[in-house]
């Protein structure tokens, strides 16, 4: 690995390009052609930067401690040479940001036709969503982590509001009210950790952590509780899942792609931080495990009850977040690889399903399984895409969901918890049932409305099919060659387990 000592050129670009694009798009406001050119060029630039960039660090204050041999160390006891506010760009960050920017490109291209006015403002919010996800996945200090989570939650409200429906306005209001709790909790956790260890940087804090001091242990537990609270909030885990599912279900389906990417990346990033900092505390992993098991099961049961395809998908996204956190909170190398790979796969196959849902939306009669039927005759390729997405989501072999779920099942068996493997199996089977209930009713049931020819709705944009084809290609690629993704994730998992102070 060619990790460089000096500040990496590419890391500021991941923040600056989205912000500049957002400002420019806000100014352009509703000039369609200029907006589409600007947005496409900016997101292409993000993809190019994420592919070309080497691995390395960026420090805002402080320096790494340099050894006489020319290498550098993470020793916190060298005064004046402390790491401080720090970003890291490694293999995990590379694949996460690459996928997120590819999805950003697709979403932006589809979103241009979605709003009659204020298109520029809406797309600038999408760029800021990407920015908050990139901040949180790259960060190695609490301060930027906190800011990223706070900005992210505010922007989610903005993206959801863009649909202009009553449901989405209510969802945005409720979600923003809760940002008070989670943001305040993360701030208090940050203050407690700063008070106990004296460092805002996570590497420094881990080394300076007074694990043997019994009088400070309770402070650490409270900090752990508040961090878990913000983790639950940012990722939509068990007690806050109704609000997050409202957010997913009431945004435009294409916007939900970016929202779920953001929350999966936040789950991975904050989960790894909790594991690195508090993994040695007793009962920490058990708390995280119970949160993820509850999320999985409640999410999937609630998905069974929905009669609208959007809401089924919304609860399934929540439930599959539980799969990601299950792998991370097992704390073994295999488990973490499984969790990270599940996050990557989840983002891809849920995007396939959400784009299919967007396609149904264009036929003009909503996405409820009671009123919509017989789409397969009019859009056969959309039906094929939705079925492939459903197979991938429920872990059928040639697609990518299978590869990560088998790693998760093996990891939980090796951990000595066969019940967790049963839960994972139950989740994938129920995902299949819930999705096919919707897909059968929407695509395959014969059209009961005799005047179906009258309500043709909008034409489905050609771009949607191109994006679906690209995403299905990635789905099958990761399903056949899982090593393509796992090679990126190995290093992060090994570092978290064996040398947690290295980002």
């Amino acid at each position: 690995m060619n990790e460089s000592i000096s500040n990496l050129w590419s890391i500021p670009l991941f923040i600056i390009i989205p912000i500049l694009a957002a400002i420019l798009l806000n100014v352009l406001y509703s000039r369609k052609r200029a907006i589409s050119v600007t947005a496409a060029v900016s997101s292409l630039a993000l993809i190019v930067v994420s592919v070309l960039s080497p691995f390395g660090f960026h420090w805002f204050t402080g320096q790494p401690a340099v050894l006489p041999t020319g290498g550098y160390t993470y020793r916190a006891d060298l005064l004046g040479w402390n790491l401080a506010l720090e970003y890291y760009y490694g293999p995990l960050q590379q694949i996460a940001i690459f996928l997120a920017s590819v999805l950003l490109l697709f979403v932006v291209l589809i979103a241009i036709n979605s709003l009659k006015k204020n298109t520029g403002t809406y797309i600038s919010l999408l760029f800021l969503t990407f920015m908050s996800a990139a901040i949180v996945i790259m960060v190695n200090d609490f301060y930027h982590l906190w800011i990223g989570v706070e900005i992210g939650s505010l922007i989610v409200a903005g993206v959801v509001l863009a649909t202009g429906e009553a449901v989405s306005q209510k969802a945005a209001l409720k979600y923003t009210f809760f940002s008070a709790l989670s943001g305040a909790g993360l701030a208090i956790a940050l203050a407690l950790i700063l008070g106990v260890t004296g460092y805002a940087n996570i590497s420094d804090a881990i080394i300076a952590m007074p694990l043997n001091d019994a009088s400070l242990a309770s402070v650490l537990y409270v900090a752990f509780g508040f961090t878990v609270l913000s983790w639950i909030y940012a990722g939509g885990l068990a007690p806050i899942h109704p609000l997050k599912a409202d957010v997913y279900g009431s945004a435009f389906p294409h916007a939900t792609i970016l929202l779920q990417t953001q929350s999966k990346l936040m789950l991975v990033a904050i989960g790894l931080v909790i594991l690195r900092l508090f993994g040695t505390l007793p009962f920490a992993k058990e708390v995280m495990l119970s949160v993820s098991v509850l999320t999985m099961m409640i999410g999937v049961v609630m998905a069974m009850l929905q009669t609208d395809f959007r809401w089924t998908l919304a609860y399934l996204i929540v439930s599959h977040s539980g799969l990601v956190t299950l792998g991370i909170s097992l704390g073994t190398v295999q488990g973490i690889i499984g969790g990270l790979f599940q996050a990557v796969n989840d983002v891809v196959y849920m995007s396939v399903l959400l784009l299919a849902c967007e396609g149904i939306y264009y036929f003009g009669r909503g996405t409820s399984i009671k009123t919509v039927s017989g789409i397969a005759k009019r859009a056969p390729w959309l039906a094929v895409a939705a079925i492939i997405g459903a197979f991938a989501a429920s872990g059928v072999p040639p697609f990518n969901g299978f590869q990560s779920e088998i790693i998760l099942i093996q990891a939980s068996l090796n951990y000595g918890m066969p019940e967790l493997a049963i839960v994972v199996l139950m989740v994938s089977v129920t995902t299949f049932i819930a999705l096919f209930k919707g897909i059968y009713n929407i695509f395959l049931r014969p059209d009961d409305a005799p005047q179906a020819g009258e309500k043709q709705g909008m034409p489905v944009p050609r771009m949607l099919y191109v994006c679906l084809a690209a995403l299905i290609f990635i789905t099958i690629l990761f399903g056949v060659y899982p090593q393509l993704a796992i090679n990126f994730l190995n290093e992060a998992a090994l570092k978290v387990v064996y040398i947690p102070w290295v980002p």
């Binding site: 301060y143 906190w146 800011i147 706070e150 505010l154 409200a157 903005g158 509001l161 009553a166 449901v167 306005q169 209510k170 945005a172 209001l173 409720k174 923003t176 009210f177 940002s179 008070a180 943001g183 305040a184 701030a187 208090i188 940050l190 203050a191 700063l194 008070g195 805002a200 609208d308 809401w311 409820s368």
Partner: protein, 124 residues
């Protein structure tokens, strides 16, 4: 007997603010009142963070030309509270702005500010 010094009293004030804020968010029905309760909650958290760093009989942690370098690290107020709170105040203002904007839109739609009517859980 707990000594009634400034730090203890400030913690009490912060606890009162947090409890009143949470209670207001839970039990009050008016949306504007809920937003005011939210500002009280974030004020309470800010106060708690500042009080955590307070040192009895300390000095402000700004290195002025007159201050002696030796006494500064031991006497100065811990800097982490102010560092976080400064950001938290700004975030609180922007969150309040978003909340008020959404409330205005919801009022135009429903004609009422009662949370029990506006936020009724009808999904369709």
């Amino acid at each position: 007997m707990i000594e009634l010094n400034l730090q203890f009293l400030s913690f009490m004030a912060a606890a009162v603010l947090v409890v009143i804020g949470l209670g207001g968010m839970l039990f009050l029905d008016n949306l504007i009142k809920k937003i005011i309760a939210f500002t009280l909650l974030s004020d309470g958290v800010n106060l708690a963070l500042v009080t955590l760093g307070y040192v009895e009989g300390g000095i402000v942690s700004i290195l002025e030309p007159g201050t002696s370098g030796a006494a500064f690290p031991t006497n100065a107020v811990l800097i982490f509270g102010p560092g976080i709170v400064l950001t938290n105040i700004v975030i609180g203002v922007s969150t309040t702005a978003v909340l008020v904007a959404v409330t205005m839109v919801l009022y135009q739609r429903y004609g009422t500010l009662k949370a029990s009517k506006v936020l009724k859980g009808e999904r369709k």
